[in-house]
Structures are given as structure tokens and as C-alpha cells.
């Protein structure tokens, strides 16, 4: 079948294109480089993997990135879930405006958002550092959280909450025992997505970090001087961890719905 072959080739080519840089990133973590610039392949070695923290400042940057990602994902998911609930379950007048306000951060260039925040912090003489980065990360994460959780809420029968209230559960009990278990996959997905977005963020962080260092900022700074292969090592680890988390999430959620049959 000509069409079959065509699509196979198409998908294959697409995947090659997509994974080529990934392969390069992983491979160059094993590069036995001589100088400072890790751009041409010299030879295979495991020494960078043996000593991943041996670079000045890298660990601190990593820790900052991890804690920021965790906190901003947590806050954004909680806040985003509340908004998603409001949007789906209630009719209210400010609906169109709210949708727009939530969409804009996703569509705005990071450069504009980052610089606007910076302008605010400067005008209010607010010192830039860890906390300003957190504020910025929560900001852009909220929209993504709303989208993710909302998708999950839309799919479930609104009468379930009424049924719970009919059966003597008050608002809090209804949320805890019926709503939350039902939307949990969406909430989990939101957390993971926000975590990834926060960890990987560069532009907005660049504008609002002051002297605090995060992993992407570290890489940027090192780009001129020559990026130590340990950065590739961690890039690979991050990649593998997130891939495993993603597959894990999928397996769990598909298994839950397979039990239904």
C-alpha cells in the first residue's frame, strides 16, 4: 500500500528530525573532550558521569531549579485547579474576559512577560532573586495548569457533585470525596507539566533572577566559556526522569480505564 509506506517514511523522518538533537545532547555527555568547548566528537568516556558534581556552581543551580519547579508547580496547580473548577461548573458573566486573561500569558512572548515583570520590580524597588523567580514561574504556570485540569473536569458528569450533596455531603466533603478523586489525573498532569516548564524556563528567569542561579541560567552563562559535559550529563538525567514519569503516568491512567472494560 503506497499510502502506508509513505506514512511510515514520514513518521520515521519526523522522528529522526526530532530526536537528532536529543541524541547529540546525550552523546556529548560521554565525549572525551580535550579543551573547553564540547562541540566536536573526540572519544568515548564515562568520567563525566562518574563526577557529575565536579563543576563549580552547577549543584547550586540544580538545587534552585528543582525547588523552584516544585514550589511553583504546587502553587500553580492548586490555584489553577480552583479556576478550572469555577470555569467548568459555573456560569458567570466575566467568563470571556477570564478566558482571555488566562490565554494571554500562554501566547505572550516570554521576552515581553519577563521584561514587564522586571519593570515592575524595578519600579517598586523589589530585589530580584529567588522569590521573584518563583513569582514569575507561578505566573506562567497558572494558565497551563488551568488548561490541563479543565480538560479533565469537562469529561465528568456534573450530576456527580449534585448526587453527593443529595446524599448529605456538604461542599467540602463533596470536593474531597467525589470531585478530587475524579480530577486527580488532571491535577497530577498539571503538576508534572508545570514542574517541567518551570525547570526548563530560561527567558523569564533571565530577566528576573538577580544573582540567583538556575540550571538554564547556568547553561546560558557557560555557553560562551564552554559548556562542561556535566551539563549534558544532567540534561540526560532530566530527560530520562521526565520520560519515565510520563510513561508511568500514562500506564497508570490507561490501566485505570482498562479495568472498566
Amino acid at each position: 500500500m503506497k499510502a502506508r509506506v509513505f506514512y511510515r517514511v514520514l513518521l520515521g523522518a519526523g522522528l529522526v528530525y526530532l530526536f537528532l538533537p536529543v541524541f547529540v545532547v546525550i552523546a556529548f555527555g560521554f565525549n572525551d573532550l580535550k579543551g573547553r568547548f564540547n562541540v566536536t566528537w573526540v572519544g568515548f568516556t564515562l568520567r563525566h558521569w562518574a563526577d557529575p558534581f565536579g563543576v563549580e556552581g552547577l549543584s547550586e543551580a540544580l538545587i534552585n531549579s528543582l525547588t523552584l519547579a516544585f514550589l511553583s508547580a504546587l502553587i500553580a496547580t492548586i490555584v489553577g485547579t480552583l479556576i478550572a473548577l469555577a470555569l467548568v461548573r459555573y456560569r458567570f458573566r466575566a467568563r470571556a474576559a477570564t478566558n482571555l486573561l488566562l490565554f494571554l500569558p500562554m501566547a505572550s512572548p516570554e521576552v515581553v512577560m519577563g521584561s514587564a515583570l522586571l519593570a515592575l520590580f524595578i519600579a517598586t524597588s523589589f530585589g530580584r532573586g529567588y522569590w521573584t523567580i518563583l513569582v514569575a514561574h507561578v505566573l506562567f504556570n497558572i494558565s497551563y495548569s488551568v488548561v490541563t485540569v479543565r480538560a479533565r473536569i469537562v469529561g465528568f458528569d456534573r450530576h456527580l457533585e449534585e448526587a453527593a450533596m443529595d446524599l448529605y455531603a456538604n461542599e467540602w466533603q463533596t470536593f474531597r470525596r467525589v470531585t478530587l478523586p475524579m480530577i486527580l489525573p488532571g491535577v497530577a498532569a498539571s503538576f508534572m507539566l508545570c514542574f517541567a516548564l518551570s525547570f526548563d524556563d530560561f527567558v523569564i528567569t533571565n530577566f528576573n533572577s538577580g544573582t540567583t542561579m538556575t540550571f538554564p541560567l547556568y547553561v546560558w552563562g557557560a555557553a560562551r566559556r564552554g559548556i562542561p559535559p556535566q551539563v549534558n550529563v544532567f540534561g540526560t538525567i532530566i530527560f530520562l526522569v521526565t520520560v519515565i514519569a510520563m510513561f508511568g503516568y500514562l500506564t497508570i491512567t490507561t490501566r485505570r480505564s482498562k479495568v472498566a472494560r
Binding site: H159, E162, A163, M165, D166, L167, A169
Partner: protein, 367 residues
């Protein structure tokens, strides 16, 4: 069942009382100044076309919507404005709304747990109820693993186990196939009589309502047009809408010539009707149900008081009966249903005479 709002039979507190209930959604009046009294231990049906306000009314009784104005009383207690979980009322939802993440047992136990019933009692009551609806063997399953009919019974069990004083049913049989639906109609009626509480059943299926209910309220455009026992409102619908909604009916324009029971139809034919409530000279429409009309080849073949001539335009054999359409000239086309018990059948094109007794026709307002 009282027809006059506000009065009760025998002076006991009614189970449900709605006074002046209005519900507005923006500019639209879904429910318009509704007054309703429902006694204890009744199977009460509310029927009407889509958008007539019956579901909204039910939801207001259940506490899922607040009325824009008016008072709702349950067993004499004013519950207007209270939340659903504060009312001793339970609901069977149209989509069943079973909690997918809980087992059948936990679904049925949900209400009891929220009321802090002890575990031992809960287990006993849940199992009893599951046995009542014949689903004891499915206690550990999840709702997704059950058929539509089984899910419906779980929804029913989940509501009844809480011993509500009023049970609300929102078109619960809509999703079932015909045979199952008929079985469930009998089943629900039996359970209601056994448990002895008030059931309020909302449906658009008038046949279903007439099968199950002790009393029916027919709603149209946010108001109750007619309320009473099934036979009573079937034979005396009083408005054209109710006449057409409850079963089929033939309506002919005419004028009252005597308040003791005489009507002249649009083509001049004189009719005798049951006396009562007639105003001489008033424009009315005369209604007669298809099954009440007898057919004969000539006027002499019929012994009925009222007679109208016509020509058969269609005759359909349906097994237990034959459905005719008879063109009666100025009076329009009348539908006639004759049981197939050996009487002569009239093919299309034959001239016939239709007849009925005064007691078998009714008078409704023209509009």
C-alpha cells in the same frame, strides 16, 4: 390528591408544598408562580413537554436550584434556600450519577456514611437494600461493569437506603430499552407501595405516568395546567394542550347552545355533552378520544346519542385494533380506534357514521 392548591386531604401535613414558586433564568421564566401540594405516601408524576419546567421544579425541591421567589415546605418545614444536603430528600438522577471511583457497595453506603451511621448498621442496611433490588452479588463491582438496568437499580438503592421521606426521580427510565422500562415501571410502583414514602417522578412519557402514578400534574410553559388522578384528567382534560398531551384526541370547534349540555358544532350538527361548567353561547372545542368512537355503515347501525358522518381516508390494521382516519368535512379529520373483535372493517373510501355517548366527550377552551 388535592387539585386546589393549599388544601390538604384529611388535614394531615402534606409531604411537599410549593407556594408561589417562580424560577427565572435571566429573562426566561422556567417556572411561573407554581402552587402544588403533594400528600404523603403518593406516587406523584409531573409530566410535560421539554422545557415546560418540570425538571427545574424537581431540582428546586431537591435543593439544587434556588427559586427566584416563593416558598418550599417539606412536611411542614420551610426549606427554601437550604442546601441539598440539609434536606431529607433523595434523588435518582437521569444519568444515575453513580460515583465511578467507588464500588457499588460504597456508592449505596455514601449517604449513610455522611450521616455518620455506624459501620455495622451501614453494612446491614446497604446489603438489605442491595438484596431488595436484586444486586447483592454485585456489591464489589464498579459501576462501569454494570448494565444500564443494573446501574439504575443501584441509583435507586443508593437513594432509598437513606430512608428519605420524599424520593425524587428525574426521568430515571429514559435510557432503558422498552421491555426493561416496562418492568421497571411496575417495580418502582411496587417499591413505592412497599416502602410507603412519597415518590415524585418527572417524565415526558405520559403513558409511563399514567401507568405508575396515583396523581399526575401536567405542566406547560412553567405552569401546572391540570392536576388529578390519571383517569380523571384523561377523561376531562379541560384544556386543548392537556387533551393532546395525554393520549390522542379529536378536537372540533363549536358553540354551547345550552348550559344543560348541548353544543352545536361548526357544521351545524347538534351534540349532547355532559352538563356542568358550560356557559351558554361560549365558543368551545369538543373533544372525543379515538377509542370512544364507534363506527357504523349508517346512522341506524349506531345506538349512540351523538352522530357524525364521514368518509374513511385511511385504515391501518395494528393487530389488536384498527386505526382509522375519517374525513368529517367541516369538522376536520377524526382519528378512530376500533378494537378488532370481529366487527366489520371499513376500507378506505367507504362512507361511515361515527358515534359516541355524551359522557365520552369533553369540552375544552378554544385556545
Amino acid at each position: 390528591m388535592s387539585q386546589a392548591p393549599g388544601s390538604t386531604a384529611g388535614g394531615e401535613t402534606p409531604a411537599v408544598e410549593l407556594k408561589g414558586i417562580t424560577k427565572a433564568f435571566g429573562d426566561v421564566l422556567a417556572v411561573d408562580d407554581l402552587n402544588l401540594v403533594i400528600d404523603e405516601n403518593r406516587f406523584f408524576a409531573v409530566i410535560g413537554p421539554s422545557g415546560c419546567g418540570k425538571t427545574t421544579t424537581l431540582r428546586m425541591i431537591g435543593g439544587f436550584e434556588d427559586p427566584t421567589s416563593g416558598v418550599i415546605r417539606l412536611h411542614g418545614e420551610d426549606v427554601t434556600g437550604t442546601k441539598a444536603y440539609q434536606r431529607p430528600v433523595n434523588t435518582v438522577f437521569q444519568s444515575y450519577a453513580l460515583f465511578p471511583h467507588l464500588t457499588v457497595f460504597e456508592n449505596v453506603a455514601f449517604g449513610l456514611r455522611r450521616q455518620k451511621v455506624a459501620d455495622g448498621d451501614t453494612a446491614r442496611r446497604v446489603n438489605e437494600m442491595l438484596d431488595l433490588v436484586q444486586l447483592g452479588h454485585a456489591a464489589k463491582r464498579k459501576p462501569r461493569q454494570l448494565s444500564g438496568g443494573q446501574q439504575q437499580r443501584v441509583a435507586l438503592a443508593r437513594a432509598l437506603v437513606n430512608h428519605p421521606r420524599v424520593l425524587l426521580l428525574d426521568e430515571p427510565l429514559g435510557a432503558l430499552d422498552l421491555k426493561l422500562r416496562k418492568e421497571m415501571q411496575i417495580e418502582l410502583k411496587r417499591i413505592q407501595q412497599e416502602v410507603g414514602i412519597t415518590f415524585i417522578h418527572v417524565t415526558h412519557d405520559q403513558e409511563e405516568a399514567m401507568t405508575m402514578a396515583d396523581s399526575i400534574a401536567v405542566m406547560n410553559k412553567g405552569k401546572i395546567e391540570r392536576m388529578g388522578e390519571p383517569a380523571e384528567i384523561y377523561d376531562d382534560p379541560r384544556t386543548p394542550f392537556v387533551a393532546s398531551f395525554l393520549g390522542a384526541s379529536n378536537l372540533m370547534d363549536g358553540k354551547v347552545t345550552s348550559s344543560s349540555g348541548a353544543v352545536r358544532l361548526a357544521d351545524g350538527t347538534e351534540m349532547r355533552v355532559a352538563a356542568g361548567g358550560l356557559q351558554e353561547g361560549a365558543d368551545i372545542r369538543l373533544g372525543v378520544r379515538p377509542e370512544k368512537i364507534q363506527l357504523g355503515a349508517t346512522a341506524e347501525d349506531l345506538r349512540t346519542t351523538n352522530r357524525v358522518a364521514g368518509r374513511v381516508t385511511d385504515a391501518s390494521f395494528i393487530g389488536i385494533s384498527t386505526h382509522y382516519l375519517v374525513d368529517a368535512g367541516q369538522l376536520g379529520e377524526l382519528a378512530v380506534v376500533v378494537q378488532n373483535i370481529g366487527a366489520a372493517r371499513f376500507p378506505a373510501g367507504s362512507d361511515v357514521v361515527m358515534g359516541w355517548e355524551p359522557g365520552h366527550c369533553f369540552v375544552v377552551q378554544p385556545v
